[in-house]
Amino acid sequence: MSNNIFSVSYFLEIFPKVVGKLDVTLYLTLIAMICALILGTILAIIAFYRVPVLYQISRVYIAFMRGTPAAPQLFFFYYGLALISTTITNMSATTAVAIIISLNMGAFMSESIRAALMSVDVGQREAAASLGMNGLQTVIRVILPQAIRVALPPLFNDIINIIKMTSLAFMLGVKDIMGVGRSEAALSLRYFETYAAIMIVYFVVIMIFSFFSKKLEKICNEAY
């Protein structure tokens, strides 16, 4: 192995190791995305209907989650709250990361979804009411189909942020793309090659995701 600043042979060696942990990153992303979407939808509906008490609580929650970085949230939860909760003490690091990303990004997603719900003009809601449709029918038949189209671009953006945010998982010792690369680099001291490999893997994943999300947006926009 040469001692050049960038060793191609080391890069070719580390790259498959990093790619080998892609399943952990994608699994974390998928779980966090689903939970964040569910949480975001619930928070958005609370905001849309201004459900008393819950609305005020959710505003504080969202402000807090958006106003603090994910890294301290992660430590606060996994090491701080673990002192008072055995559930958290016994929790796997991966689960803890998934929970924090969901709680954090759920707050962001709720804003994307809420804005989309609001984007359907009140006139259409009045038209539905004047025809005798009830609230649920109006939401399912009129508001949601239009809101989804508006929500897609910001939600895709939020999902890209989730993919990136999973790279914090190493802080709790999770061996994902970032985690495994970091321990390899600590042994080999080959930072250039290792982190280049890591970034390339994230970049390719996000590019593939963007490609399909653009396609989907286009299909939705052509609908009407």
């Binding site: 003009d121 006139g123 259409q124 009045e126 038209a127 539905a128 009411a129 004047s130 025809l131 005798g132 449709m133 009830n134 029918q137 038949r141 009129v142 189909p145 239009q146 609908a223 009407y224």
Partner: protein, 246 residues
């Protein structure tokens, strides 16, 4: 068939928009409501189907009576089944084609089969001259075309009364005619209608009765000849003179 007793509406403490409205409208009447801007014409119309909840008063349409001071959700829904509304800005469902817009309430509210709803919807679209555009989304239709679909949609639920709130004021002048013709046709079919409009000449032609609203009250009520051609009320005279100029 429509009975309004002591209807009041306040949006806030100081502004009483409707002040003791009393009104009886019989089947097959075509009632136009005229009046200066901000006198509560839209508010009155919207109170009739509770898009706007009155502060006080009783509204009866058909066999449903709703008292504002203790109304239930189910009362409101029952009341709405007796009427339908045509909006100034059409308010078509943007995610549905013209045909789907007309079918929607037939399927969701009247629980008709898809086939039955479609047949009825096409019939109505033919009546408003929009059958050839039935598969167009609202974004691909002109204002006048959208409004005609809006009228078909309002007719679909076989309402006892159709409420029109300035159905032509958002339209380009050259498109007003097609919508007025459609409304006239429906009036000739014997529909009961309440029509808020600034088209004085049309109101005179189409209606069997004209109301003049002023500052939250019905200030004049009578046959179109009397109200429009021989106005007695000084405010009404002034209002008509203003329109004659423009």
């Amino acid at each position: 068939m429509i009975q309004v007793d002591h209807l009041y509406k306040k949006f806030d403490e100081n502004t009483e928009v409707l002040k003791d409205i009393n009104l009886h409208i019989s089947k097959n009447e075509v009632v136009s409501i005229l009046g200066p801007s901000g006198t509560g014409k839209s508010t009155l119309l919207r109170c009739l189907n509770y898009l706007c909840v009155p502060t006080k008063g009783v509204i009866r349409i058909g066999d449903t009576t709703v008292d504002a001071e203790h109304h239930k959700k189910s009362d409101v829904r029952a009341l709405r089944r007796h009427s339908s509304m045509v909006f100034q800005n059409y308010n078509l469902f943007k995610n549905m084609t013209a045909l789907q817009n007309v079918m929607e309430a037939l399927i969701q509210v009247q629980k008709k089969s898809k086939k039955e709803a479609e047949e009825r919807a096409i019939e109505l679209l033919e009546k408003v001259g929009m059958a050839d555009r039935k598969d167009f989304y609202p974004s691909k239709l002109s204002g006048g075309q959208q409004q005609r679909v809006g009228i078909a949609r309002a007719l679909a639920v076989s309402p006892d009364v159709i409420l029109f709130d300035e159905p032509t004021s958002a339209l380009d002048p050259e498109l007003v005619g097609e919508v007025l013709n459609t409304i006239q046709k429906i009036a000739e079919d014997g529909a009961t209608m309440i029509l808020v409009t600034h088209e004085i000449r049309f109101a005179r032609e189409v209606s069997s009765r004209v109301l003049f609203m002023d500052e939250g009250r019905i200030a004049a009520d009578g046959k179109p000849e009397d109200i429009i051609s021989h106005p007695q009320n000084p405010r009404l005279q002034q209002f008509l003179k203003y329109f004659a100029q423009t």
